[in-house]
């Protein structure tokens, strides 16, 4: 119990960060009209492609002689890029069609 309390208190910064981010995420979405649900899902999908940053870090930090690690890192970056680029482009394509004529 005491340990749990200490853990929470010591990580309070990150807890506030998480809680506030969750609130922001929920509040920001809460106002979306139904029409925009599909583009929004797609846009959010593109944003979690930020995981590519992790893939780049792994690759930068890897031992340059470790071929397996380099290969895996390469694949990870390709996958991340697909998520990011595909996500943003397709969202843009959808939203382009919404503009008033």
């Amino acid at each position: 119990m005491e340990q749990a309390l200490a853990f929470i208190a010591e990580h309070k910064e990150i807890l506030y960060f998480i809680i506030l981010s969750v609130f922001v995420g929920v509040e920001v979405i809460g106002k979306v009209p139904t029409v925009l649900h599909t583009p929004l899902m797609s846009g959010a999908n593109a944003i979690h492609g930020v995981v590519i940053v992790g893939a780049i870090i792994v690759l930068l930090d890897t031992d340059p002689g470790n071929v397996l690690a380099l290969a895996l890192g390469f694949i990870a970056v390709v996958l991340g890029t697909l998520n990011v680029v595909g996500g943003f482009v397709v969202t843009d394509r959808m939203l382009e069609m919404f503009k008033k004529k």
Binding site: V53, G54, F88, F98
Partner: protein, 466 residues
């Protein structure tokens, strides 16, 4: 040091663009700009990481590595861009599903590679193992969802008492993960076994769910991937991964719930077996009330041509038949003849929220002709003809009248107030909810059987010749 500082600021800016982007995407006027804002932030975060990231003693930037990174990005951009630009608008759910799976796989791979660097560091291992499990589930689940939407995997596969089996598998996977975290093991074999187990669970999670429920599943997996990205953020104490991941995780969860609400069924229903795939789909056997009336294309053409006001109700069948361009043609020709034409857009018509708007916008239908349910409902009374194309559940009066119906309580388009109702579908089969629709037996209703594209094309030709 200064590079580090600039990178932190770049991450801060990127985080703000993510928030602003999501916010702007929630308003039709700013949505497109919002997407671009978030994309710009992403670019800043990626470029910053490539050039400025530095973990003392570990990071190195040999030409080989930089080559790999830029090569990977170029390859990913090429494929992603092309796919996104060429895919048909009706295939949106598949596409989002696929891209989502890629993100999940990326998160899982990061975990696989970081595992051995962090032996003994329990805190880091927790985030790594969770990243692997959630990322893998999201990946394999998305692939199954993709195959189902694609039509490759048609029927939901259901083992007997699959809910219990799935729960057992889930507990097993997490137990395994806990072992990997706390035992101090360094076995690569076990690590890949965990990866495989998580992938397997992802498949088992999605496989029993009906194809029609896939959009909800994708939205859920979308928030899973967000979570996996956030775990990556914890691992590297990387703020932009944290904000991006948590934002999508929470927003995605809410969006999932909102989607379920719009269809009037609880999320648990979708995941733990629901009508979307239960036997009822075939057994639309409730005693038919009255008889069905057919109408010929020629008669329908005359009827519409001499109306004052026609309201079109597009549904899932229109999307499947890819009839969005023909319907626009029909609308144009009717308007030329002085008929007022509007589209009645039900929020959950089709298979994704907003599906019909996207689809009809693609075929250049004037935005102002797309009228939301609440606004158009009072107008049906003044319509001479309602043309229902490939819609079923969204015009089913049982939602208002029959408390025992699974869709009871869902708001519907009140088409029965119009003078004539024309319904186009291929047969008498049920829609998504798998239930009988009394509307088809309404004395005012005439059926126009056939594939939506065929029927509409003929209708257009017929009207032109009048």
């Amino acid at each position: 040091m200064i590079a580090q500082h600039i990178l932190e600021i770049a991450y801060l800016i990127a985080s703000v663009t993510f928030i602003m982007g999501l916010k702007m995407m929630s308003n039709p006027k700013t949505a497109r700009k919002g997407n671009l804002v978030a994309a710009a932030g992403m670019l800043i975060a990626i470029a910053g990481t490539i050039f400025l990231y530095n973990h003392e003693g570990l990071t190195s930037r040999e030409p080989l590595k930089l080559g790999l990174i830029f090569g990977a990005i170029a390859l990913g951009t090429l494929i992603g861009w092309r796919t996104a630009k060429t895919v048909q608008m009706t295939k949106m759910p598949e596409l989002v599903s696929m891209f989502n799976g890629m993100g999940g796989a990326c998160a899982a791979l990061i975990g696989l590679m970081e595992f051995h660097h962090n032996t003994g560091n329990t805190g880091a291992l927790i985030t790594i193992v969770l990243g692997i499990i959630i990322g893998s589930v999201s990946f394999s689940g998305s692939v199954v969802a993709f195959l189902k939407l694609n039509g490759t995997m048609q029927k939901p596969v259901r083992l007997p008492s699959y809910n219990i089996i799935n729960s057992a598998i889930m507990i097993g996977v997490f137990g395994f993960g806990a072992y990997m975290t706390f035992s101090g093991t360094e076995s690569t074999m076990l690590l890949y076994l965990l990866f495989a187990a998580a992938l397997f669970y992802g498949v088992m999670f999605v496989i029993p769910i009906g194809g029609a429920d896939m959009p909800v599943v994708i939205s859920l997996l979308n928030s899973f991937t967000g979570l996996a990205a956030a775990f990556g953020g914890f691992l590297y104490d990387n703020k932009v991964m944290l904000t991006g991941g948590i934002l999508v995780g929470s927003a995605g969860t809410l969006l999932t719930i909102v989607m379920c609400k719009a269809m009037n069924r609880p999320l648990s229903n979708v995941i733990f077996g629901a009508f979307g795939a239960s036997g009822t789909a075939g057994s639309a056997a409730e005693s038919a009330k009255g008889s069905i009336k057919d109408i010929s294309i020629a008669d329908a053409a005359v009827l519409m041509n001499y109306s004052k006001k026609v309201i079109i109700v597009p549904g899932y069948g229109l999307a499947v038949a890819q009839a969005q361009h023909v319907i626009h043609e029909l609308e144009t020709i009717l308007e030329e003849r002085g008929v007022e034409v509007k589209y009645a857009i039900h929020p959950v018509a089709g298979r994704m929220p907003g599906h019909m708007n996207v689809l009809l916008a693609e075929s250049n239908v004037d935005y102002s002709k797309l009228v939301e349910m609440e606004e158009i409902n009072p107008e049906f009374a003044s319509a001479d003809v309602v043309l229902v194309v490939g819609a079923n559940d969204v015009v089913n009066p049982a939602a208002k009248t029959d408390p025992s119906s699974p869709i009871y309580g869902m708001p519907i388009l009140e088409v029965e107030n119009a003078r004539h109702i024309l319904v186009n579908k291929r047969s008498m089969s049920a829609g998504y909810a798998g239930i009988e629709n009394e509307l088809f037996y309404n004395p005012k209703t005439s059926m126009l059987f056939g594939d939506a594209k065929d029927v509409l094309t003929k209708l257009v030709t017929e009207i032109k010749s009048l």
